[in-house]
Amino acid sequence: MDNPLLMALRLIAAGDPALLQIIGLSLRVTLTAVLVACIVGLPLGAALALGRFPGRGVVVVVFNALMGLPPVVAGLLVYLMLSRSGPLGPLGLLFTPTAMILAQTILILPIVVSLTRSVVEDLWSEYGEQLRSLGAGRVRAVPTLLWDGRVSLLTGVLAGFGRASAEVGAVLIVGGNIAGHTRTMTTAITLETSRGNLGLAVALGIILLGLTLTLNALAWGAGQWARGRLG
């Protein structure tokens, strides 16, 4: 087996277009899914933190549990929905990046919701009285608390990104691993493993980890800078 680290460096240096296409698709799918999950999940998590309604405890537990939803199960559910024989069949979204984004959003959403709920709950217990005194009720406090907790919320977002960029079960089922169209880093690694090209598979894994590491380092740096500037 060729040294995978060297293989990884050679692949990057060569700028192989197929590799770049795969990396580009992986980032596009996961980052879009993170964005959608945040748009839906941040207000939802905050509402869950501050809301008082019957069954709230059940909802909290369900979202916590869904953080452990197996990616392959999420993929299967989306597949059954988007299949031509399924309810959303006419949309023709199966085996497209959009289907992959949908499946990954479903995986990331519980993480964003649960961690946002936790952060906003803590912030409300710290700020609640003062905010009410200033005239901000629970509803109006949502954007205030989300913005105030932005550095902590970033951790939740990164956790969501990590989960999505690492998974293969969902994108494999709903994407179909079509060369040039729905092949991501993780599905490519699976493919090369199934071909017995273990060295290449590990090299791709090293590249994927490098990407994730870089992104997390950037986020950490941004968090430190923010902490220094804004307390």
């Binding site: 596009r28 799918v29 879009t32 964005l35 959608v36 748009i39 299949s83 031509r84 024989s85 399924g86 069949g89 006419p90 023709g92 199966l94 085996f95 497209t96 990046p97 959009t98 984004i101 954007p143 913005w147 179909g176 691993n177 079509i178 060369a179 169209h181 493919l191 493993t193 199934s194 071909r195 017995g196 090209n197 273990l198 060295g199």
Partner: protein, 271 residues
């Protein structure tokens, strides 16, 4: 200040989502459900560009196990199904999911195993006897166990040998050809594999071909157009164009010209 930052993020979001949802540039394509072993052999990488150059139609391959590929066809998520499990293919057509089944090509299966051959397959005269020797010796055997064409062929061989495979030596991996071979290489164990996957497989470890050549090991492929009566969204014209091409002289020649390490893997058999 904080408002404009938030507006920027909120404004970008729908735009980015749309970007993700844009269909690929208006390229005509069909979806072909086939098997992982065919994809892994590299055949598609060789013949599909030829077809696309001639007709401008892109063929997008979804590579799955045979059972899953047929299910994909049944659900209407593919336009054409191209697998190697004759009985299941004919049932597919008989049940009305496919229009018709055509012969395309065949490849063959080989039995691989540890080089020192503890079950003594090298002395067997036919495939059924070889499988019988494995069972008799209780030598580890890695089966795909996934209702694929390969698995179906394996079951037929056990039946021909009069053996019901069960026991600690018989391992059902429930996975694709490559994963099963990885397992076999590790243990080591015997396995039934198509020659194409074997030739392309890098991680052989102590494994080598211990039995080949019996005619029952020949593995015929059939191609089927998914029935538009059941799934109106099927791309009939383009799908039929691919089927017509692959059974034509041009397509058959393309198949024959595909080699791995100088060896031809697939043998044209269209009528």
């Amino acid at each position: 200040m904080k408002h404009s930052r938030r507006s920027l993020i909120l404004g970008l979001a729908p735009g980015l989502s749309l970007l993700a949802a844009l269909p690929a540039a208006a390229q005509t394509f069909i979806t072909l459900a086939s098997t992982t072993s065919t994809e892994n052999s590299g055949l598609f990488g060789h013949i599909l560009p030829i077809f696309q150059a001639e007709t401008g139609i892109e063929v997008r391959v979804i590579a799955q196990g045979t059972g899953q590929a047929l299910e994909t066809g049944r659900r209407g998520d593919a336009d054409v199904v191209f697998v190697h499990a004759r009985a299941q293919e004919e049932k597919f057509v008989a049940e009305g999911w496919g229009v018709a089944r055509l012969d395309v090509m065949y490849n063959d299966f080989v039995i691989v195993g540890p080089a020192e051959d503890p079950a003594g397959l090298k002395s067997a005269t036919d495939a059924a006897e070889a499988m019988g020797k494995i069972a008799a010796a209780g030598a580890p055997f890695a089966s795909r166990g996934d209702d694929s064409g390969t698995h179906t062929a394996e079951k037929n061989l056990w039946a021909a040998a009069g053996v019901e495979p069960a026991g600690a030596w018989y391992l059902s991996t429930g996975s694709g050809m490559g994963a099963t071979l990885n397992t076999a290489a590790q243990l080591p164990a015997y396995a039934l594999t198509d020659r194409g996957t074997w030739l392309g497989f890098q991680n052989r470890g102590p494994l080598g071909i211990v039995f080949e050549g019996d005619a029952v090991l020949f593995n015929p492929y059939g191609i089927i157009l998914v029935n538009p009566a059941k799934h109106p969204a099927v791309k009939v014209a383009e799908g039929q164009a691919f089927i017509d091409w692959i059974v034509s002289d041009a397509g058959q020649a393309a198949i024959a010209s595909f080699t791995v390490g100088g060896e031809q893997l697939f043998f044209p058999s269209a009528n």
